[in-house]
Amino acid sequence: MKKQTSKFAGFTRKYAAIPYGVFMAVFVIFPLIVLLLYSFCEKSVDGSLSFKFTFDNFKSVFSEDNFSMLINSLLVGLYTTGICLLIGYPIAYLLANKNYNRSAVLVMLFMLPMWVNFLLRTLATKAMLEFFGITMGMGTVIFGMVYNFLPFMIMPIYTTIQKIDYSLIEGAADLGASARVTFWKVTVPLSLPGVLSGITMVFTPTITTFAISKMLSNSKISLIGDYIEQQVKILNYNVASAISFVIILIVGISMIVLNKYDKDNANQGGGLW
């Protein structure tokens, strides 16, 4: 009898996931298929899907006209990620280390800017840079990106360092390792998953976010995100789709690499589902 009721119960509850399944099919999977189709089709006059196969969209993405845009994106992305790592790692380390910090509010203060709209933060940065009479260009764009994405580097590194078993560090000290050796041989390797996810959380948004580069360089420097916006404005959805597809590939590859390193997290995720 009991078995029967539970079977019946599972039967009804099972259907609860169907609305979301349908929703995802329509608003997540289908749009990506449309995007893929657009990226391999010729441009039509009114921006509708033409169903004429072509590789031209990808060719025009990687054409010489876009050379400086692609190089700029790469440079800004690399510099921003590098600087964020250089500043963010020590911060995350200090915040997670009980000898230096015990207050949750301090951690929160570092995360708080993340919740403030990035346009407002960028506006504020621009206002301040203008006050100091700094000319807008590559430097200010990188500064603004670091300012915007630093919390995204601190957060994952902080959580992984916090999870490190402290007895490992004590053990290293007991076995005669100096503080420096312990740091480089124990803490750093164990925090690598956090570093990797920090890098992906900074690099891709940096090169794909539009508006920041435009605002902080007076439209002199445009990155991939700005390029997509510009293509959409002139109704060239096909090229916009092609470059979006390239972004999907980049993100996908970095996710695969990340999952390989981040076995700990993968196990947790497996437990959840």
């Binding site: 009721t5 119960a9 599972g10 009804t12 509850r13 259907y15 609860a16 996931a17 979301y20 399944g21 929703f23 608003f27 997540v28 999977i29 289908f30 749009p31 449309v34 995007l35 657009y38 509708s48 899907l49 500043i87 911060i91 200090l94 230096y100 509010v105 929160m108 203060l109 570092f110 708080l112 800017p113 919740w115 403030v116 709209n117 990035f118 346009l119 407002l120 960028t122 506006l123 504020a124 206002a127 203008e130 006050f131 009479g133 300012y147 948004p205 976010t209 539009f210 508006a211 605002m215 995100g225 959805y237 916009a240 789709s241 979006s244 972004i247 999907i248 993100v251 959840l272 589902w273």
Partner: protein, 286 residues
């Protein structure tokens, strides 16, 4: 000791640098120069302009739009996500669980701009069937926001469900509840904290969104973030009332977050002292 002082100084300097521009904008909202490069005496003109000036109508319409979108999208996301979590939790097939897991990851992992372009293309296709004009366009934005909010609701509710004991549900049924009654009286109250957390996260994500809104909304209708962008991306300097608006938003968000966080951390301390060291530390992670 020296190390400690150096560490504190380093943290302080970075923190100061992070907050300097924000403070800067707040300070300069109390003067009426058009550019923020010179201080011209104290004035509340920016605030007067914000509430009574020529742009104030647009600004308040944008705020209303932002709130409508946030509330509707979060409500839909919360319902969809909670139902999905209940469904996934009771489905036995590993394949279905895996499929949901993968699909649920897509909006979180994908670059915002990719999601934005793909949704824009979808709505563009739909336009040949139904044309949405004016404020009705907000439906598109609500649907778009629902796509990136629901994954977070699901991820907040599912762990709660897995912690709760399925036997209680079965017991409710044995005691004569119909499945619907059991759902409302047993399952939902049990996972309520997760549902509320998911709703709050959805609201913040929706209000904060710019990229996806910018791509799915046009024709003179603005939300707060797209309005700020339209005022800020031009060649002209930012109107002074926008400075006042930014200052107000900053202060509200900072106050809210500080309140929520200090409250939740003190709650956590209470919980820890109440339950003692029985629970494994892993559970109190969030």
């Amino acid at each position: 000791m020296v190390k400690k002082i150096m560490a504190k100084t380093f943290l302080g300097v970075v923190l100061a640098a992070m907050y300097l521009p924000i403070l800067w904008l707040i300070v300069f909202s109390f003067t009426d120069t058009t550019s923020v490069s010179a201080w011209r005496g104290f004035s509340v003109n920016a605030y007067i302009e914000l509430f009574t000036g020529s742009n104030s109508d647009d600004i308040f319409k944008a705020i209303i739009n932002t709130l409508i979108i946030a509330v509707c999208a979060s409500a839909i996301s919360t319902i969809l996500g909670t139902l999905a979590a209940i469904g996934i939790n009771s489905v036995r097939s590993k394949k279905i669980k895996f499929a949901y897991k993968q699909a649920n990851q897509i909006p979180m992992v994908n670059s915002e701009i990719v999601t934005a372009v793909s949704l824009m293309l979808l709505f563009g296709m739909l336009r040949s069937f139904i044309v949405l004009e004016g404020e009705v366009q907000l439906i598109n934005v609500i649907l778009a926001h629902t796509t990136f909010c629901t994954p977070y609701v699901l991820l907040n509710v599912l762990p709660r469900l897995q912690q709760s004991d399925n036997k209680i549900y079965e017991a409710a049924m044995d005691l004569g509840c119909t499945p619907t009654q059991a759902l409302w009286k047993v399952v939902i109250p049990d996972i309520m904290p997760g549902i509320i957390m998911g709703f709050i996260m959805s609201v913040t994500l929706s209000i904060d969104d710019f990229v996806i809104t910018q791509f799915t909304l046009d024709g003179g209708i603005y939300t707060l973030s797209t309005l700020i962008y339209s005022k800020a991306s031009g060649k002209k300097p930012l109107p002074i009332e926008m400075r006042a608006l930014s200052a107000i938003i900053f202060i509200i968000i900072a106050a809210l977050l500080l309140y929520v966080n200090t409250k939740s951390s003190s709650d956590q301390k209470k919980k820890i002292t109440n339950t003692g060291a029985k629970k494994s530390p892993k559970r109190s992670k969030r």
